[in-house]
Structures are given as C-alpha cells and as structure tokens.
C-alpha cells in the first residue's frame, strides 16, 4: 500500500494504477483498481455492475478506464530466471498459467454479469430504464463495441500484427462492426418504419466504407509501428538482460580466472561454479525446488563444489517432496558428500538418488583413497566419529539405514536408505 521506493528516495511519487497484462477477464480494469486500492477484486466488479444500473455509468466508466489505465510494465515476475524471461518475451515459450484462482475468476464475473443483466431487465420491466424498443439495440451495440474495442486494445496489437492468421482478427472486427450497424439499423427501423431501413442501411454502409477508407490506413500504420516498437523494446530488454548477466557473472569469472591461471584447482572450481550458474540462469525453471529430494541434493552438491572444489554429479530417478525424515536423509547425504570431498582426495563424487516403490536410496560414491571401516585408533578416528554421529545415527533416528563400504585404495561408497512410507508421512495433513 505504501510506496517504498519513493519514500526511500525522499520525495513523493504518485502511485499509478495499472492494468495487469495477463490474468484478466475483460480489460483487467477491475483487477488493476483492486490492486491499486488494496481491496478484493470482487467488490470492484460489483461496484461496476451496480453503477451500470444507473444509465450505464458502470460500462462507461469501465470503458474509459480501460482506455486510460496503462498496462502494468512490471507484470513479469522478477524471480523468473532471465533466460526464461527473455525466451518468454521472444515468444519461445508460453507464459505460466494464471494461477489457482484462474478457474473461479470467469465464473465470478459471469455470475456478476448475469446479475447485472437481470437487474437491468428488471428496471426495464418496472419502467425506469430505457424503452424496450431501445434496450435490445443498445445491448447488441454494447457487444459489438466490446468486440471492436477488444481488437484495439494495445496489448493485442502485437499479436494482431504478428499473427499469421490475421483473418481471425479481421473477422472479429467485421463482426463487431456488423453488430453495431445491425443495432443502429434495428433502432432506426423500429422508430421510422421498415421503409426507411433500406435508405438508412445504404447510408450506413457508405459511411462505414468511408470511415474505413479514412481511418483504416492510419490504424494499420499505427498498429505496425506499435508492433515494431514493442519488438524492438523486447529485443533491447533481452540484450540488457544478457549483458547484465554476462557482466555480473561470466566476465567477472573470466577476469578472476586470468589472474589465477596458475592455480588449477581454483580455475576448475570457478569454471564449474560458473557453468552451474549459467545453466541455472538459462534454464532455472527446470531445476527442482529445494523442497524436493533432488533439489535439496543438488543444492548440497553445489555447496560442496563451491567449498571444496570437487565436482559432484547428482543423478536421480524419481523425486518426492521432503518431510522431516527426508530432510534428515538429505543432511546425511550432504555429510557423506562433504566427507568424500574433504578426505578422499577423489577427483569427482557421484551421487545417485532413487525413489523406489518401497524405499528411497541415496548413494554417495568416490574413487578416492578410501579407508578401513573396521580400523580402530587410526588418524581417521575423528572422521569416523563424524560418520557415526552425523550419518549412521541420524539415519537410524529417522528409521533408515546407512552402510559405509570402503577399502584403502578402492574409494568409498555411502549407502543411505529409508523406507518409502516414512518419506510420505505427513504429506496429506
């Protein structure tokens, strides 16, 4: 509700109302206003419907606001990865859905419209409103105007211009014009008798053709320019996205690499981290969230890569959401990965997670030095203590098992397993 950015800057900036670019029923006016005033969109819609009863003020206001309110420039979610955003702007992927309320929205609006229509008809019956002879033409005209208006909505223009199936847009526009014309003809016909109809139709037709000839090229040019401008802006934004990212990440990393070219371990670590970041930036949406087994293991692996400079490859089959038992499993796996990175001296670590029907297993394998798991009193006693506490005991506390297989010179494999039902617990509640 308060304007944070403006306050921080010291001055007061008018908070503008916007129409959302997506998630809207007709023009997004109600939703824009609702967001602006911080009220539920239902009340705004109701207010429009009620206002319509008073000589159509609601429709008039809606139309005016539709025309006046600009499209929200920041409808895009800033959390979306830049590569995905750029791809969306270029039309390489479809924007994500409207969200959970998408279904109830149309229903609500249709109900409201029906209610409004009912009240309108009621006022007609009582005799307060327009004459019956004018009502139907007015309704038809409203539908026609809405159709035409929808075509001219600026957010549609881009698609209108770029869409190869331009005939659909033309057909809708013609239909809208035809409806408006029909309404006028109907109204005139009812007032002045059917004889005048032919004359009026002819006049209307000539007028429409005349207007089309006059305004048509102008509208066409305008849409073309607008489309070109939008395309150009999208391209500029995309370039800015890429430039910003390359500067922040790749260029910086390359600079550090040049300075440290004599430190192979650091070079490898940096390159690996950069690769991961670039992948995430480009295709971030595909990464499972950290609340799932795979996502959490990925995160743990990334952490080890950063801290210890050892590449960790995570391969998974199936996935599930994490409950506290699952989190314990991930923590035990994380501990095993850290141990492998710290003590084995292996060049790489393989992590494999499999969600089976009966149990969920995670394997952490390295081909490093290995150790004798039965050996006592060695220098690795401390490590073994850590293994026992943070891996074996943790798994057992949560109803799972941990097995460590290792032999000197043969690498180490930690096998963690937990019954499936423990990981599904609490999912329903």
């Amino acid at each position: 509700m308060t304007s944070t950015a403006a306050d921080a800057a010291g001055g007061y900036e008018y908070r503008r109302a916007y129409r959302p670019a997506d998630s809207r029923m007709i023009g997004g006016v109600a939703e824009g206003l609702a967001a602006h005033f911080g009220v539920n969109v239902f009340w705004v819609r109701l207010a429009f419907v009620v206002a319509t009863w008073f000589n159509g003020v609601g429709i008039l206001a809606y139309g005016l606001l539709w025309w006046l309110l600009p499209i929200d420039p920041d409808t895009e979610d800033p959390d979306t990865p830049a590569g995905i955003r750029a791809a969306t702007r270029r039309g390489l992927r479809t924007p994500s859905g409207r969200g959970p309320q998408a279904l109830s929205d149309p229903v609500q609006t249709i109900a409201l419209l029906a209610l409004g229509l009912g009240v309108l008809l009621l006022t007609q019956a009582v005799g307060w409103g327009l004459g019956t002879s004018a009502l139907i033409p007015v309704l038809v005209a409203v539908v026609g105007v809405a159709l035409v208006w929808r075509q001219v909505d600026q957010t549609r223009w881009n698609r209108w211009v770029t869409q190869p199936t331009g005939w659909a847009a033309v057909a809708r526009l013609s239909l809208g014009l035809a409806l408006v014309s029909a309404a006028v003809i109907f109204a005139v016909g009812q007032r002045s008798g059917m004889d005048a109809l032919l004359d009026v139709s002819a006049v209307l037709l000539i007028a429409v053709i005349g207007i089309a000839l006059l305004v048509g090229p102008w509208i066409y040019r305008l849409t073309r320019e607008l489309g070109a401008e939008r395309t150009e802006r999208a391209r500029t934004q995309e370039r800015a996205d890429v430039a910003a990212h390359l500067h922040d990440s790749v260029l910086q990393t390359l600079a550090i690499l040049q300075k440290n070219s004599d430190n192979p371990r650091m070079v490898a670590t940096l390159a690996r981290r950069q690769e991961r970041e670039l992948r995430e930036w480009l295709y971030g949406s595909r990464r499972p969230p950290e609340t799932t087994l795979r996502g959490a293991l990925d995160a743990a692996a990334s952490q080890v890569e950063d801290d210890h400079g050892v590449p960790v490859e995570v391969v998974g089959v199936g996935d599930l959401a994490l409950n506290p038992h699952g989190e314990a499993l991930v923590r035990a796996a994380g501990e095993a990965i850290v141990n492998a990175a710290k003590h084995s001296g292996a060049e790489a670590i393989d992590v494999y997670a499999e969600v089976g029907g009966d149990d969920v297993a995670v394997f952490v394998r390295d081909r490093g030095a290995g150790f004798d798991p039965d050996g006592v009193g060695t220098s690795e006693a401390g490590t073994k203590m850590g293994i026992r506490e943070s891996i074996v005991a943790r798994m057992e506390r949560h109803g799972g098992t941990a097995e460590i297989r290792s032999a000197p010179g043969d690498g180490t494999e930690v096998r963690l397993s937990m019954p499936r039902h423990r990981l599904d617990e609490g999912e329903e509640s």
Binding site: Y283, R286, P288, P311, E313, V315, G316, V317, G318, D319, E347, D350, Y352, E354, F363, R365, R367, G411, E413
Partner: protein
Amino acid sequence: MTTPARPRQPELRVVLVDDHALFRTGVRAEIDGSVDVVGEAEDVDSAVASIVEHRPDVVLLDVHLPGGGGTQVIAKVHRTLPEMRFLALSVSDAAEDVIGVIRAGARGYVTKSIAGKELVEAIGRVADGDAVFSPRLAGFVLDAFAGTIEVAQVDEDLDRLTEREREVMRLIARGYAYKEVAKELFISIKTVETHVSSVLRKLQLSSRHELTRWASDRRLI
C-alpha cells in the same frame, strides 16, 4: 582406478563434430596421441561430408549443431553407412537431448566434462561395438523404463528392462565403471557389456509413443 586403455593395434580413427572451434581444439588436445583425429566438422553438412570421406571408426558428435543437430547427422550418414558408430558428446544434459540422440542411433552419450582418459576409453568401447552410458544417461534410462513405461502395451519384452539390466544401469548411475559393476554383480565384464548393449537396443527400439510420453511428462516436473 579406471581400467587402463586397452592396447589397440592400429590407432582408432575419429572424426570430431562440434560447432565450437575452441571446444574441438580442447578435445583434440586431450585425446590426440591416444586416438587419431582424422577430421573435424562444425555443422551437419560438413559433418556428413567429413564422415563419408574419412570413414572413421568412431564419430564424436555434438548434440546441438547448426543445420539440424546431431540427430540429423546420424540419420543422413546411416542412410549410406549404416554401420557408422557415433558417440554423443554434449554440454547439454537435458533429457530430451540425451534420449533424442540415443534414439537416433548413437551408441553412447557422455557429457563434455568427462576426463580425457575416460573419453578415450569410451571411444574404444564404442569402436568395439559396445554401448557407453554415463551415470546421467543411466539415470534417464532407469527413469524412462520405470513408472510411466511400466505398463507397456506394445511389446513387453522390448519396453521392459530385466532385473539384471536394471541392476547394471543402477550401478552405472551410481558412478561405477564396467569393471566395478562386474565385480559387484559377480559377472564378467563381457556380460556387463552384453547387458549394456541390450539396454541400448531396447532404448532405441522401444515403442516411440511410450518414450515420447515419458519425455513430455518429465518436462512438467
């Protein structure tokens, strides 16, 4: 820890296909000496021309290429040289890419982060007619043949992995080398190779419908 490269009488001849010259230079530097890189190519057309001209033992093939990608190269070459062996080598680890190039006819798939020694070993395997599965590819295979493909209507034998094949895949996904798989399962390396080859065959021949569904399901995750 990995098996030392098997002794080869004549050096293996390899054609390297990748649209990034820098990467080609890197790979060449890593494997030259162990194998003979007889040709390089940077797009679909030059790749087909080079392969047909040099008739290498193995083609190292990038998945993303100007002109249609690695699958196009395999399709075009296999029209005239059906026996040509391809090993996919890609920076992409997306399931669509991996499965796509395998189903087109590649005999293996390794990611570009693979070490030079392991790459040479993989080339040797493919040249011998065996399949090469990276841990990631093995994971995809297990994923593909589990769950959604469990109910195979078309060809039961083809759309399922045997328990043994599944075990082999699982061990490869866990990062085991063939030798270690053999030791773990008390079978010979030759048997491991047989299992892996048969999994590859199933992967390439399984009903297209089921695998496509798997891929599209997966994208939703």
